[in-house]
Structure formats: C-alpha cells, structure tokens
C-alpha cells in the first residue's frame, strides 16, 4: 500500500528540491537592463528636467537650482499675464482612498476625491507600430463595482482608452453597453485547467481576476472613433467558491468617440 506523504516529509522534499538548481544569472541580464535604463520613464520623474540633471548629482545641483528659480519666475510672470496652458499629461486613475464621483470621459481628466496616484502597472504591451502602451488598473471600483482599466500611450500625442470591466461576469458570453458611444463587448472563453476534471462552475458562476496580460490592436481605418480589439491571456483569478483558477483568454472589441462623454456602463443583467 502506498504510504501517504506527511507534512514534515513533504516540507523536507520541497526545501531540498528547491535548494537545487542554478543560482547565477547570465552575464547579459544586468547589461541589458542597464541598456534600457536611460529610456525608462521613472515613476514620479519630472519629465521636463533634463536627464542630465538627474544623473550628474551634485555637480549640476547649482544649475538645477537656477532652473527651478527660473521656472518660479516664469510662473510669477504667468500669473500676472494669465494662467499658462497646462502641460499635456494623461489623466490618472483614482487610488483606493478615492471614490469615483462620476465616470470620466476619454477626453477629460478622471475626477475623484482623495489623492490621485498612478496605480500598479498591470503589464506593458506592445502595439506593434508604436508604443509602448501601458495598462493601469484603478484600485477603487465604480459605484456598480466595475473595475476601470486604462490603456495609455505616452508619446508625442498621449492617448488613453478606458474600459470598464466587470471581472465577475458570468460565463455566458454577453454584451455590455454604456450610455453615450462607448461600447464594450466582452466574451469569456473558459477552458479547464485541471486535466481530466470537469469545471465545477460550468455554465454559471463567477470569476474574479485581478491581473492579466493584454494585447490591444487599434483599427486605424476609422477617423472619428477609437476602435479596435483587446485580447487578454492567462488571467489568474478565483472562483466564487474560493478555488483558484485560470481563464486562458478574454477578447473584447471596442469603439468610441474620444470627443464624446460617456457614463459608467450598466451592470450585466
């Protein structure tokens, strides 16, 4: 008869096994990372500061002080002449301490109480022809418990796309509509991750996910709308019974007029 592994033996097995294996990174890892460092946009970095000032330290500190004083003088002069145009910047997502009072439009800044901070990046994605695009997720949900995802591109012309997704949609494919011209169609494709086992939630149930990697493709043939498709793969999450699982893909299409305003999509019926 097969003896069952007790916890102590399993612990020892795991520890011994995990101690084995390579522990030295390839030489190119640091080299390649450092090669990318100069092009990385740092969180909270003042983009108008020349990179030289951030890397040369005290050697150019006096020059930095002069620049700050110069900017202060410019602001004072500007306040006399009139308010300057705000620098172009993408709107930020609300933090968990914020409440969303109204859903933002694609062309307006998100309005929320509390401190606005950029949230954890869900994952960088490549558009192919330009980019990189970043996906950000708001920690605060909307009043009807939707999660806001922002797909943003910081380039010569910043663009962003908001999608409001209900991570607890049912398995049946369905459509989600919004007032205004924002429309998102989400179809869930679920596949069993446990070999040979039936899905205990097949047909009904819910799936909550808080991460995933997505690819977004824009339809460049339209001149008035931002349109395209979205595909997310390998989204880990938790069934409503607490069991962990994986949705292998989610696809969505979207089309909206960036000059229009839109309200939060209605809940899934």
């Amino acid at each position: 008869m097969t003896a069952r592994l007790n916890d102590r033996d399993l612990n020892r097995l795991l520890s011994d096994w995990l101690d084995e294996g390579p522990s030295t990174a390839a030489d190119f890892v640091v080299e390649r990372a450092m090669a990318r460092v100069p092009t990385v946009r740092r969180r909270g970095a003042a983009s108008w500061l020349p990179r030289l000032l951030r890397t040369q330290g005290p050697l150019l500190a006096s020059l930095a002080v002069l620049l700050v004083l110069g900017a202060a003088v410019a602001l004072v002069i500007g306040s006399i002449i009139g308010p300057p145009d705000p620098p172009p910047s993408p709107p930020v997502l609300p933090s968990d301490s914020a409440s969303i009072e109204s859903s933002p439009s694609a062309s307006e800044e998100a309005r929320a109480t509390g401190e606005l901070v950029l949230e954890e990046i869900v994952g960088p994605i490549s558009l192919g022809t330009s980019g990189p695009w970043l996906i950000e997720r708001a920690q605060a949900t909307t009043a009807d418990e939707l999660t806001q995802y922002r797909f943003a591109w910081f380039g010569n012309q910043s663009r962003w796309l908001d999608l409001f997704l209900d991570p607890q949609s049912t398995y049946e494919s369905g459509s989600r509509t919004a007032t205004g011209r924002l429309r998102v169609v989400v179809a869930w494709f679920f596949q069993n991750t446990s070999e040979g086992e039936s899905d205990p939630n097949a047909g009904t149930g819910s799936f909550a996910s808080d991460s995933g990697e997505c690819t977004i493709t824009f339809d460049t043939s339209t001149e008035t709308h931002i349109a395209g498709s979205l595909e997310c793969v390998d989204i880990p999450g938790t069934y409503d019974g607490g069991q962990e699982g994986l949705i292998e893909s989610v696809t969505a299409t979207f089309s909206f007029d960036p000059n229009d305003s839109y309200a939060t999509p209605s809940s899934v019926p």
């Binding site: 916890d7 399993l10 096994w17 990174a25 890892v29 450092m34 740092r42 969180r43 962990e244 699982g245």
Partner: protein
C-alpha cells in the same frame, strides 16, 4: 551599504543602480528560476525586474523595505514570464521503481517534483518558493505578494495539496503497474 546604494539609485544615480543591480541579480534569478523552472525565462524575469525596480524606485518610501519590495516586483515579472511560457506537455516518462515502505526515497525522482510543480498556477508556485526557498514567514510572504495572510495560507494549502496529489498519483500508478520494489 545596501541602503545607501538604494537611496542613491532612488535619487537617480545610474551608477549606483548599476552596482545595486549587480549585487541583487543572482538572488533575483535564483528566485525566478525556482518559480519558473526555466533558465531563459528566469533571466528574462530578472532583467524585467531590474528595469521595473529602476522605474519604480522613486515610489519606494522606506529603503529598508527594499528586499521585500524588490521581491514583489520580481514575482510579478515571473507571473508575466509564466504567461508567456506555454505549459509543455510533459513527456510520458515511466515512473521509477518505488519502495512503498520508504516514500521519501521513493519520491527522489526530480521529474515527479517537476511535474507536480509544473501543474501549479504561478501564484501557488511563488508562495511555495518564498516559503521553502527564502524561508519567509506567512506575514512576510503576504507583504511580498501584496495579499492578505489568508490568501497566502490558501495558496500554500492548494499548492501542497497539488504537489502531494501529483507525487502520490505517480506512486499509485507505479504500484498499479507492479513496479513497486519488494
């Protein structure tokens, strides 16, 4: 010394960050390999983690928490790499001869462990590695993974169940084939 490097890198000194990267890269790779079980993917994850560490360092409030904070970034990079790795269909290896009276010796075959571990979701793998390779406490794992302690317990529970089930299934299969040593 490390905190000074972190502080200087946080302030934007690329030279300081380069030195910091050289100090931590092997540690990052080791953890990544044990989660991903793939050398190339682990190198990629370590590289991505270093870049993200540089990008996010200005947001690190307490330089003393750098280790746990960097582990979180690495684990997220591992999640991304794991999604890229398509789960390979394991080769139909014949289980080794098993001594039913000594299950520990019977499970010495690392292929069984690899197979069992390979079936786990990345989140469960990460929890196991943080516990058994880094010897982190539940609270420390929760901080690294940025999840509640209850979630850590749940992931470890399912991970251990998954590993045990895989190991015992191999043993039962070998027993059924009459390969048990007598």
């Amino acid at each position: 010394m490390r905190q000074d490097l972190v502080a200087r890198a946080k302030g934007g000194e690329e030279a300081a960050f380069a030195q910091l990267a050289r100090e931590i890269v092997d540690r990052l790779f080791s953890i990544a390999f044990r989660i991903l079980r793939d050398v190339d993917a682990a190198n990629d994850a370590a590289q991505e983690a270093l870049v993200k560490i540089w990008r996010e360092l200005p947001a690190l409030r307490d330089v003393e928490r750098f280790d746990a904070w960097s582990y979180r970034i690495l684990v997220n990079a591992c999640y991304a790499e794991h999604r890229k790795l398509r789960r390979a269909v394991p080769a139909a290896l014949a289980p080794p001869l098993i001594d039913a009276d000594d299950p520990i010796a019977a499970v010495a075959d690392r292929d069984q462990l690899e197979r069992g571990f390979g079936r786990l979701p990345a989140e469960q793998r990460a929890a196991l590695v943080l516990q058994h390779y880094l010897d982190l406490s539940l609270a420390e794992i929760a901080e690294v993974l940025d999840v509640p302690i209850g979630t850590v317990r749940s992931r470890l529970h399912y991970a251990r169940d998954g590993m045990r089930a895989a190991l015992e299934a191999d043993a039962r299969a070998a027993e059924a084939r009459g390969e048990v040593a007598t």
